[in-house]
């Protein structure tokens, strides 16, 4: 009995209005009429009551014959052939041109009447068409035609037509836009046992719906019950604002690096060969550049490089610039070094920072830099991507410190202390090392590359202390963290994907 009480308390006003009028097999239309509810209100009431197990909605389809565009007109004015016939019935003969009927209906009328042998047509001496009604035709006007009677009765259910109606239906169906057949849904309700019990209860109306200012001001709530809601009901989803998943991941990386004492650095998107490669002691003609196939720009082709600095870098390439190195031993191309391209590696920003006046030593720096490579875009390659890298410059740094830093990165970015530091190769560092980290879920991954910048690189840039360089493979971590299988989805333009993407914490 408590269940019934609770159920009663949860009825919406529309349900309460509908409930007393329910009976077995009642249709939606009947409920509308009986309860005075609008169609949409009655429908909602039925649906909600169905959700509550009070009734069950049965749906059946039925075909209904209704008036079409011309049919509406003909029901009012009469069928064209009848109107035609009426005008000639009491005359001996009439010129067709004198009959008052719209032009587009004339042929229809003549066609229909000839078929019924109701008129005679002939040409007079002037060649004009004249018409007269036959006896049979005159007789037709004495009673209402089956078609006219049928039109007046519409709409009718197709399956329940009487034989005469069926005849009229068939005849009118052949003509243009007089009648049409609509498929309608017929909804009826059958009452469940629960519903039957409920209908025995007294449905009172003293429930509070919305909490209006009036309800509060007049303290109505003190003497009334609150209508209980169906709190389990599904509500429409909303899509509000949130950060893009990959961008949020990068924000997080930036925050971590800042908290580890790294200061952000940056550089231009359009770089010169000088900063992108030459200043990193990558020889102008060497296979190490094969891995950096680049996007050179159309116009302008060349940029401006500080001549004094360029001379030093040139000397480093050619003879080692007094670093104790013999250099690459080739003639440095001073034009090629000015060639402009889209930045291929974030290390360009490190070179710029190392040579800048505002560099602080000791100092830790990082860059999250947009880089570009000549690559076919597919599930594992983007031609447009972010690199995360930087350096630490400090007197007395050793390979031991590099290991210490890599361990810190493993803890911070892969949540692990299980690491291996293995020999690796980068054109601008010696010694070089790779960081393998055992990620708790991904297993062993190549997390970072690192090394001590070569003296041939740092000295021309004005740096005399050891510099540890590092780069972290952020995209792979991002794809794992975001559960993305295709690298292109880091920049997804699919709104449904973006809206469904979970946030990270």
């Amino acid at each position: 009995m408590d269940d019934i009480k609770q159920l009663l308390a949860s009825l919406h006003p529309l349900e309460r209005k509908a409930l007393p009028h329910l009976k077995e097999g009642i249709s939606l239309k009947e409920l509308e009429k009986a309860s005075g509810l609008k169609e949409i209100e009655a429908m909602r009431a039925l649906q909600w009551m169905e959700n509550k197990g009070i009734l069950k909605i049965n749906q059946a389809l039925k075909e209904v014959v209704a008036l079409d565009k011309n049919g509406v007109e003909y029901r009012e004015k009469g069928l064209p052939e009848i109107r035609f016939l009426k005008q000639i019935a009491d005359k001996k003969e009439l010129k067709v041109s004198e009959i008052q009927i719209p032009k587009d209906e004339l042929n229809i009328a003549i066609g229909a009447l000839r078929q019924k042998a109701a008129i005679n047509l002939r040409k007079d001496e002037k060649g004009e068409l004249v018409v007269s009604a036959t006896e049979h035709g005159k007789g037709l006007l004495k009673k209402e035609s089956m078609e006219e009677a049928f039109l007046k009765l519409l709409p009718l259910e197709l399956s329940s037509l009487a034989p005469e109606q069926k005849f009229a239906y068939d005849s009118l169906s052949k003509r243009r836009e007089i009648i049409k057949t609509d498929v309608l849904k017929l909804r009826t309700a059958s009452i469940t046992d629960l519903g039957k019990k409920l209908m025995k209860e007294k449905v009172t109306g003293n429930f509070i719906e919305a909490i209006t200012p009036q309800v509060l001001r007049d303290e109505v709530w003190k003497n009334a019950n609150f209508r209980a809601y169906d709190i389990k009901i599904n509500v429409p989803k909303i899509f509000e604002g949130k950060k893009q998943h990959y961008r949020a991941f990068i924000d997080n990386v930036r925050g971590k690096l800042i908290s580890m004492g790294f200061r952000e650095m940056a550089g231009p998107i359009v770089e010169s060969d000088f900063w992108d490669m030459d200043a990193l002691y990558m020889p102008q003609f060497h296979s190490a550049r094969d891995i950096h196939d680049a996007y050179y720009i159309k116009d302008p082709k060349y940029g401006v490089i500080d001549e004094a600095l360029m001379k030093k870098v040139k000397a480093a390439h050619e003879n080692g610039f007094g670093t104790g190195s013999r250099g690459w031993k080739y003639t440095f191309d001073v034009l090629r070094t000015k060639r402009l391209l889209l930045r291929t590696q974030g290390t360009a920003c490190s070179a710029r920072k190392l040579s800048s006046k505002d560099i602080q030593i000791p100092g830790k720096y990082f860059g999250i830099t947009r880089c570009f490579r000549y690559d076919v875009v597919d599930a594992t390659h983007n031609c447009d991507f972010n690199q995360t890298e930087g350096f630490v410059a400090e007197e007395g740094l050793t390979f031991g410190h590099l290991k210490g830093m890599l361990k810190m990165f493993a803890e911070e970015f892969a949540q692990t202390e299980t690491i291996r530091i293995v020999p690796d190769y980068f054109p601008f560092t010696e010694p070089s090392a790779g960081l393998m980290a055992k990620h708790p879920e991904m297993g062993w991954i190549e997390l970072a590359g690192s090394g001590m910048f070569r003296p041939e690189m740092t000295k021309p840039l004005g740096i005399d202390v050891p510099v540890i360089a590092w780069g972290i493979g952020i995209d792979r971590l991002a794809m794992f963290a975001l559960n993305i299988k295709d690298i292109r989805h880091l920049f997804s333009h699919d709104l449904n994907v973006l809206r469904q993407m979970k946030v990270m914490y």
């Binding site: 899509f239 509000e240 604002g241 949130k242 950060k243 893009q244 990959y246 961008r247 930036r254 908290s259 004492g261 200061r263 952000e264 940056a266 231009p268 998107i269 359009v270 003609f285 060497h286 296979s287 190490a288 094969d290 720009i297 159309k298 116009d299 080692g320 670093t323 104790g324 250099g327 690459w328 889209l342 602080q360 000791p362 947009r370 875009v377 447009d384 630490v392 400090e394 050793t398 390979f399 031991g400 410190h401 290991k403 361990k407 291996r420 530091i421 293995v422 020999p423 190769y425 010696e430 010694p431 001590m452 003296p455 041939e456 880091l490 920049f491 333009h493 709104l495 973006l498 809206r499």
Partner: protein, 547 residues
Amino acid sequence: MPTITFDINDLNKLVGKKLTKEKIQELLDYSKGEIEAVNGNEISVKSADTNLPYLWSVEGIAILFKGLLGLEKGLKQLKLEKTKDTVIVDKSVKDVRPCIAAFSVKGARVDEYLLKQIIQLQEKFCHSYGMKRLKVAVGVYNYNKIKFPVYYKAVLPESVQFMPLGFKREMTLGEIIESHPTGMEYAHLLKGFKSYPLLVDSNKQVLSFPPIINSEHSGKVLPGDSELFFEATGNDRGAVQLAANIFAFAFAERGFKIREVTIDYSGKKEQSPAFFNDSIKLKAEDANKLLGLNLKETEVKHLLEKFRYGYDKGKVLIPDYRRDIMHPVDVIEDIGIAYGYDKIPLRSMKEYTLGGTFPITKFVDKARELAVGMGYQEIYSPMLCNANLLYSQMNVEDFGTVEIETPMTELFSCVRTWILPQLMELLSSNKNAEYPQRIFEQGMVTMKKDLKDFERMAVVTAHTSASFTEIKQALDFIMNNLGVKYDIENTVHHSFIPGRVGRVVVNGKGVAYIGEMHPKVLANFGLSVPVSAFEMNLTDLFETIKK
């Protein structure tokens, strides 16, 4: 990064010890190598160091492994057998391809597997280190088919014809360049030269047309051959000599005797292979300083010898198959690797440094937060796009774009100059997603003028009743919360409807456009809902409000 394939049993035979796959990977760590694939006894190894081509052969790997395992130690040197064989170099090659190195071998037999290994090393060396044959190209021949002296000269393309390797008819050098598949592939290396390099013997039999192709006559090595002739040509003398040295050491590992060839540069004679006998000075303390170790000189010597260097009183003797040592740091790395990276004690950073970012980064992040707070979904797009999207589809003229000279695809042929077009494209491809669609993107663009980068933000609302009022409210919300006073002036911008577009001005500087998108633009993107938007230059805004 070259990958080579060889048989594990072969490696074991060369090393003289049975090694498991695990042990091989452990040893490969020392050479920056990685097992890529194992297929039965066949193993594929990728080498990370593009500067150490001796490791692109199983013989080179074996030389290093023997040192690491303590089976051999120190510098490996080759004994050469004297011969009267000479290659006479004509002055005519000076411009086109001036350098050559050569030697011959005998005393062992080539089988099918070894032939594959020779071709593999030849291909990897010439492709990667040899810069696709520009710097170095290598040829191997049947020694018995050659009558010395051999002449290396440049000849007119139509003056000589021979049967190229694998072909059944004779072709002139010009024909080979024009119609032979290998000739066409490498034709660019000889572009602009009147004469082409040629190796021809005393019987006027062509050995090869370097750097293109060998002859069928002598340039075809078959299983069962036991005497071979080797040559390398190119434009970098050191690189050509390195090629000869690496091959000589590899053949010697297989039990071949290496026989000298005299290279006669117009009377100036030199022996080949020309060993570098190179060395570099090293102080143990420098190694200790860089690695963070405390090694004694004897320990340094031991580690160097393990890595197949020699050491003599502060001087590191460099193997003749290496040419990558430029600075003591290069040797110090190998000392560190030989010592074991994992054994070097780990140290913490000692200096405290203050982290931080740029003021503009903090500023744009606040603007992003405000947009998110208004219920806008953030978007992140690539920076590469195309002029058609940026301008034609937006109904405006190009406003100065950085274009790529040789784009891979027209879709990504320039750097974006504004962001709104990409957001319009997004709306266009998301017509099936539920409306309202409220999106924004904050990010960098690059202008051709002064090649300057700017931080910008585009904010877009699209739904059946999107209006100027709604987008102006959004602009107003962001500006108010950033504490920026602004005016909106009437302006013309053909992406927007005339009379419904404004220029947002702060301190007299235009920083944004705002308006209802023109139906023409909507039609270009196939959109049938109204769209309102603004796009703001955050770099300019930040600079003007800071003053």
